[in-house]
């Protein structure tokens, strides 16, 4: 029994990690007033960029080096998701386009890119079969060597690849910056009321650009974790599924607080695979269990809107473009 519970916690953390990256990224983005619905697409692109980088490296070297196996996918993932968020930022911030439409288009585009390159990458290199990056996968999966000696605790909490811990660290750092530093204060001001922030001398455009781009790059790591660590360097089209939307749900569930999003992500990760761990569940009821994360999110959304506590509300200018001359 105890073993099952710990195995469940372990699996929940694994499932929750991509969600945590996505949620942290989206929180930072939304704090600047940008509702980036392109996050699911960005996560796909983050994943496939990592795969492309890793593949090219493994393709052209005889003897892959572990450090480079991590560094190259990591950097190409950042580059890929940065390009995606730059498209979004340019359209919504500079050209003041509608955020919902731009975000949805970005998701369509990103998932298209992911599946296209995932399906055709090998063809460009005249190879056949399916993508499988053994060395990169192994490098990302590498855990502390003594983890397994620490018994159940070590197996449950210390046996992950480094990205799992990075997700937590990023969320904690984001929480600190948002709540304890001037940069965070300014960013929140931009998201709440850009006109006021502007008149206080804060460069609204700059904050929006930086927050959206950094948020997008963090979200991209979620895709990278999924393809490198979770699947061990393999790509299957649409394999990432609807996790990107789940990440956006977590942002609401965590009421725009990165610290809360850590717990929320693991909770949602747990709900995602809960049906596997409940014995004697019929196939149809499994589908109902999978509905839970979304239902719970809706409930949270309703509760915060009814209670109207100031600190639990979405950033006030969320979804609106800012134009200085229009007040």
């Amino acid at each position: 029994m105890l073993n099952t519970i710990f195995a469940f916690i372990n699996a929940a953390i694994i499932q929750g990690t991509p969600l945590l990256f996505g949620a942290t990224g989206e929180i930072i983005t939304e704090k600047s007033g940008n509702l980036n619905l392109g996050i699911p697409g960005i996560m796909y692109v983050g994943g496939i960029s990592g795969i492309i980088g890793g593949y090219i490296y493994e393709h052209y070297t005889e003897d892959p080096n572990t450090a480079l196996c991590i560094l190259i996918p990591l950097l190409s993932c950042m580059l890929g998701s940065l390009i995606m968020t730059l498209i979004y930022s340019f359209l919504t911030i500079t050209l003041r386009a509608n955020q919902n439409v731009t975000g949805l288009a970005l998701t369509t585009f990103g998932i298209g890119i992911g599946n296209f390159f995932g399906g055709s990458l090998l063809k460009f290199f005249n190879e056949s079969g399916s993508i499988s990056l053994m060395d990169c996968g192994a490098a990302f999966k590498m855990s502390l060597p003594f983890a397994d000696d620490l018994g159940l605790f070590g197996k449950t909490f210390l046996s992950f690849g480094f990205l799992v811990y990075l997700a937590v660290i990023i969320a904690l750092v984001a929480s600190f910056i948002l709540n304890k530093t001037r940069v965070g204060l300014n960013l929140r001001a931009v998201g709440e009321n850009p006109a006021t922030a502007d008149s206080a001398g804060i460069n609204v455009t700059k904050y929006k650009y930086f927050a959206t781009c950094i948020g997008g790059m963090i979200a991209g790591f979620g895709g990278l974790y999924f393809v490198m660590d979770y699947t061990g360097g393999a790509w299957t089209n649409n394999g990432f599924g609807d996790r990107g939307w789940l990440a956006i749900a977590i942002v609401i569930f965590a009421i725009w607080k990165p610290k809360m999003s850590i717990l929320a992500s693991y909770l949602f990760g747990g709900l995602y695979i809960l049906c596997v761990y409940i014995p004697g569940l019929s196939a149809s009821n499994k589908e109902l269990i999978n509905m839970l994360p979304y239902v719970v999110t809706i409930l949270v959304l309703i509760i915060i809107s009814i209670r109207k506590k100031r600190e639990n509300q979405p950033p006030q200018s969320l979804g609106l473009s800012y134009f200085r001359e229009e007040r």
């Binding site: 509702l35 619905l37 498209i87 340019f90 359209l91 050209l95 003041r96 386009a97 509608n98 919902n100 439409v101 731009t102 949805l104 288009a105 970005l106 998701t107 369509t108 585009f109 990103g110 998932i111 298209g112 890119i113 992911g114 599946n115 296209f116 995932g118 399906g119 055709s120 063809k123 089209n237 609807d242 939307w245 956006i248 749900a249 609401i252 019929s282 196939a283 149809s284 009821n285 499994k286 589908e287 109902l288 999978n290 509905m291 979304y294 239902v295 999110t297 809706i298 959304l301 309703i302 809107s305 009814i306 109207k308 979405p314 969320l318 979804g319 134009f323 001359e325 229009e326």
Partner: protein
């Protein structure tokens, strides 16, 4: 003197102002330029991938959409479905109610139709060959029942977020977004209940009696779908432009305070509009089941609920323009699909192209709404 020079230097190179109104043809020209630019980028991308010459790419795309009579009818059918969902989201968007839940509303609509077909499905009469099947209800009863059930389901799915938005101001874009996935799981649940062997794929319902299937019209399988959506387009145009309710929708969309001031009951308008929106999504779901697939699956809406949002927005919520924008999107998707098949590329290339086109059109709106002024020299004195 020196302060004036300082002021000149600190003035930025580019200065953006809002345009009041633009002559209509200029707007058309800007959009046309954007579409042409998008097509150039798209073909450059395809040329890069396939090493074809660009003219061949376009002829291949046109061939893929219009090549045969069958392809042409499929093109019309796809346009009709996308247009139907775009029409559904339009009134809500005009009111600035961000209904991102069309996908889910279509899904539950489809589910309701499939449920009617399933619970009144054909039964086999006797055990002797040849097998004889009989439908418990005639199509004259069953099809209207399916239509009503689908509309009711769509309405329920749309009106729940609307009520919360109207009373408590709950964020509707996130709410409707989540409702999509609840709908998806609901469909998956019912398929599991209906299909006992756990294959999670629902086969064609009533293949022998075709009970609950929309009949052919003008000898075309999709005839009815196209006709119904055509009528809906005209109706929506009139509703938005000439009815009192349509007027109220645009006032609420422009400014809720103004609406309240002139005595419009904003809550009522929000809920009523979402009933219209949900009902049309329900109709789309009905057409997808009864007139197209004769079955239901988790991805029967196939992301059209999201594409429709972009189509409606690109057309500036004008139902007439929506015919053009949905044609553009469907043409790109089918054309790209044809290229992908011919060259053994992945079908997702059509998503990439759709994305590029939408980015360009979204971007060009800026030049319609705003004016970029270069820094000008100040006149002395």
């Amino acid at each position: 003197m020196s302060s004036k020079r300082l002021a000149q230097h600190s003035e930025p190179l580019l200065h953006i102002t809002k345009r009041d109104a633009m002559v209509w043809y200029k707007g058309v020209i800007i959009r046309a330029i954007a579409i042409v630019a998008a097509l150039i980028v798209c073909s450059a991308l395809i040329v890069l991938l396939t090493k074809l010459n660009p003219l061949d790419v376009y002829s291949e795309m046109i061939e893929g959409s219009f090549g045969t009579e069958r392809k042409f009818w499929i093109l019309l059918q796809n346009i009709a479905m996308l247009l139907c969902i775009s029409l559904a989201v339009t009134p809500a968007f005009k009111m600035k109610f961000w209904n991102l839940g069309a996908e889910g509303q279509v899904l539950v609509g489809a589910l309701a139709s499939a449920a009617c077909m399933f619970y009144f499905k054909e039964v086999r009469m006797g055990d002797t060959l040849p097998l004889v099947y009989e439908a418990p209800l005639s199509n004259a009863v069953l099809i209207p029942m399916m239509l009503v059930a689908s509309m009711a389901a769509g309405i329920i799915w749309a009106v729940i977020p609307a009520i919360f938005k109207a009373i408590w101001g709950t964020n509707e874009s996130l709410f409707t977004l989540m409702m999509n996935y609840v709908a998806m799981q609901l469909v998956a649940f019912f398929i599991m209940v209906w299909v006992p062997n756990g294959s999670s794929v629902m086969g064609i319902i009533n293949p022998n009696t075709e009970s609950g299937w929309l009949p052919e019209l003008f000898g075309q399988k999709y005839g009815f779908n196209i006709l119904i959506v055509g009528l809906l387009t005209v109706a929506m145009y009139i509703y938005l432009k000439y009815s009192k309710q349509g007027y109220e929708i645009s006032v609420v969309g422009e400014s809720e305070n103004t609406a309240r001031y002139i005595g419009i009951n904003v809550k009522k308008v929000i809920i009523r509009t979402l009933i219209v929106s949900g009902a049309i999504c329900g109709i789309a779901g009905f057409l997808l089941v009864s007139g197209t697939n004769y079955t239901v699956s988790k991805d029967i809406a196939g992301g059209m609920g999201f594409t429709a949002i972009m189509v409606a927005w690109l057309a500036k919520f004008n139902p007439g323009m929506m015919v053009i924008t949905s044609f553009l999107v469907v043409f790109m998707q089918r054309g790209a699909g044809a290229i992908a098949t011919t060259f053994g590329l992945n079908q997702s290339v059509s998503d990439i192209l759709t994305g590029i086109i939408i980015f360009f059109i979204i971007g060009c709106e800026f030049f319609i709404n705003y004016k970029v002024n270069l820094r000008t020299k100040h006149k002395e004195g």
